[in-house]
């Protein structure tokens, strides 16, 4: 039977149906922001500028994907920002101190980062404390460890350069290369970002794990009652965050060669912001990976668009806040209209 034949349903156009989806409803805000800056900022529409905006969006977007998944699963990760730095520091310092091929460092870093993610998740499910306080704890601890270890090992607050070490060029190809197509400079992070969005969307919508993520965030007790392994799902989500932090961390290392130990603080909020603008609920159970990408793109466009528009930089944050709020309002309004349309 086709549901549209039911006399209890009013017919609804395809456009409205699409706009009601969390993935697509949020795109309206992105289009609006794009059009707006195309008009007010001369240089915004240039191909080269697009490359810059996409790069800025991708560096947030890569992390916004797992953070969105985690939020759908009902949890936060405040340590995501510094974890990126930790991951970069581990590869760099391990390779340097052991005079090893940088790939060894990269591998060790993956293990360490995943272990930290697992630590977050296990502590969460064991202690049943709110994830805010758990990951706040790891956030502070990692911040301290980043600084403490770097000073202990390098003697300064940043790592030593590893650009002349074995394996650096190949690792750089993977994590920090860029292609120039015409006048557009496309960073490899954009490919990583899109790849992650596709994989995350597939996982969310077409696998059992995805079903479990929605359930764990939507109603953890009910999910447990019908046999969903909620604890394992949440630990897995934290490890997914860690995995993406590892990618971001390696990008940081291989594109800037030297890592400052104090970096990453505060970035966790950018990821959450991207996820929320893209329609993820703070309370869990609702959202999408594509939405997080749209959110990251809105953030990236606004953030850089204000620079392209050459507005007075003293008011930068004001414009940023106002634009983000407007874009999100527009998203929400469109989605509501689309849903409510009889």
């Amino acid at each position: 039977m086709s549901p549209v034949d039911d006399e209890r349903l009013a017919p609804r156009s395809v456009v409205r149906r699409l706009l009601a989806r969390p993935e697509l409803g949020s795109a309206v805000g992105a289009v609006a922001v794009f059009v707006f800056f195309s008009i007010v900022a001369d240089s915004f529409l240039r191909a080269s500028s697009l490359g810059t905006v996409l790069y800025a969006s991708s560096t947030i977007g890569i992390m916004a994907v797992p953070v969105a998944l985690l939020m759908i699963g009902g949890e936060f990760d405040l340590s995501a920002g510094v974890l990126v730095t930790s991951s970069a520091l581990v590869s760099s310092m391990f390779s340097y101190q052991m005079t090893a091929n940088v790939w060894v460092g990269v591998g060790v870093s993956l293990l360490v980062t995943l272990a930290i993610g697992a630590f977050n998740g296990i502590l969460l499910v064991r202690t049943k404390l709110p994830s805010f306080i758990i990951t706040l704890g790891t956030f502070l601890m990692l911040t301290g460890l980043n600084l403490g270890f770097t000073k202990l090992i390098s003697g300064t607050v940043s790592t030593k350069s590893i650009s002349d070490m074995e394996g650096f060029p190949t690792a750089q190809d993977l994590f920090a290369s860029h292609w120039t197509i015409g006048s557009v400079d496309l960073q490899v992070t954009i490919a990583w970002w899109l790849g992650l969005v596709v994989v995350a969307t597939w996982v969310l919508l077409r696998t059992r794990a995805g079903n479990w993520i929605f359930a764990a965030g939507g109603n953890a007790d009910a999910a447990r009652a019908v046999g969903v392994p909620v604890a394992r799902t949440k630990i897995g989500l934290y490890m997914a965050v860690a995995f993406c932090a590892w990618i971001s961390g390696q990008h940081l290392l291989f594109s800037f060669d030297v890592v400052q130990s104090g970096e990453g603080v505060g970035n966790e909020f950018l990821y959450i912001i991207a996820a929320v603008i893209g329609g993820c609920l703070m309370t869990g159970g609702y959202g999408s990976a594509i939405g997080s990408a749209v959110g990251a793109f809105i953030f990236g466009m606004t953030n850089k668009g204000i620079v392209y528009a050459q507005w007075n930089p003293d008011w930068f944050k004001f414009f940023l806040g106002a634009m983000l709020l407007l874009a999100t309002l527009l998203n929400a309004w469109v989605r509501k209209r689309a849903e409510a349309a009889a």
Binding site: A41, D42, S43, R46, S48, S49, T52, V53, Y55, A56, T59, G81, T143, N146, L147, K151, G155, T156, V157, S158, S161, H178, D185, H251, L252, S255, F256, D257, V258, Q260, S261, G262, E263, G264, V265, G266, N267, L270, G300, N303, K304, V307, Y308, A309, Q310, P313, D314, F316, K317
Partner: protein, 311 residues
């Protein structure tokens, strides 16, 4: 009072250490409270200077920092509570520190100010000030840019609302004869720094020089200029190993050094001198540690020092 336990053990250790250090004055405790954010290269070098002096002078050195005025004053208060024998503070936000600095002096703790706040330092009745006015450093940059014939400069601030950063840019703007724009970036997010500078250079092709306010951002600015296809020269405040080698390689124009190592070292040493010998320095005037313009020619000599983290 007691003859055993942890304290006695500490005393013995101190005695042993005293023998190994250059001086055998009592084991004083000096505290340094700065307005630095966490993990800042500049303040790291200040600290290593201070530590070096502390080791030589048989001093126990305590360091704490906060970029919030309120918090910084509480940290000074904590140092007073610990009855330290000497205090080094920065006066980036002088009004916030006034009350607590006076309190320290009232409690008989000698105070030396470093880095910023040369004017207020005297007003607060401290022993002296060692450092450089951020505005003066900025002015030096403006002059140097003029000398290099620059017309349109970009000042990259990596912490919004930071007084010192504003003073640096304002100083540069004051003496620079061309046009100068500010750009705020998020200093804890290197990709953001990169893309923001890149965007600015793409938006305004007439920019011919970029001034970063911290050494770690210089390399990123170079990369941004490169990717934006801009030929702007990158200059920076402060030094580190990367900056020194970039200067040498010619990818950076110049750097303005204010010798942070010296600020830390001298402050502790002066406190020691004061306690030991009632010496003061500067004759009521601030002792300036900069600004010193470092270019390709000087870079070679400095490279070794930057590598070990003392320049």
């Amino acid at each position: 009072s007691s003859t055993g336990g942890k304290r006695a053990e500490d005393r013995a250790k101190r005695a042993a250490k005293a023998n190994s250090s250059a001086v055998n004055t009592p084991h004083w405790t000096f505290a340094m409270v700065t307005h630095s954010g966490a993990g800042d290269t500049f303040w790291d070098i200040v600290q290593s200077g201070a530590k070096q002096a502390a080791d030589k002078d048989n001093i126990k050195f305590l360091y704490s920092n906060s970029d919030q005025a309120n918090e910084q004053s509480q940290l000074v208060q904590a140092a007073i509570d610990q009855h330290v024998d000497g205090l080094v503070v920065t006066l980036a936000k002088p009004d916030a520190m006034k009350a607590v600095v006076l309190k320290a002096e009232k409690a008989g703790i000698p105070v030396i100010t470093i880095n910023s706040g040369s004017q207020e330092s005297k007003e607060f009745g401290t022993l002296g000030h060692i450092g450089q006015d951020e505005t003066i450093a900025g002015r030096a940059v403006g002059d140097e840019l003029n000398k290099r014939g620059k017309k349109h400069a970009l000042c990259v601030l990596h912490e919004q609302g930071n007084v010192g950063h504003e003073q640096r840019c304002a100083g540069a703007k004051a003496t620079f004869s061309g046009k100068m724009d500010n750009l705020y970036v998020d200093g804890t997010n290197m990709p953001d720094v990169l893309s923001a500078i890149q965007a600015k250079l793409q938006a305004d092709k007439s920019i011919d020089s970029v001034v970063t306010l911290g050494a770690p951002f210089a390399a990123t600015a170079v990369k941004a200029a490169d990717q934006a296809g801009s030929s702007a020269e990158v200059d920076t405040f402060d030094l580190n190993a990367q900056v020194a080698s970039s200067l040498k390689a010619g990818t950076l124009g110049f750097a303005v050094d204010q010798q942070p190592y010296l600020q830390g070292y001298e402050a502790i040493d002066l406190l020691w001198l004061y306690r030991y010998n009632a010496n003061t320095l500067g004759g009521g005037q601030p002792v300036l540690t900069g600004p010193q313009i470092v270019t390709k020619d000087d870079a070679d000599a400095l490279l070794a020092y930057t590598k070990r983290g003392t320049r």
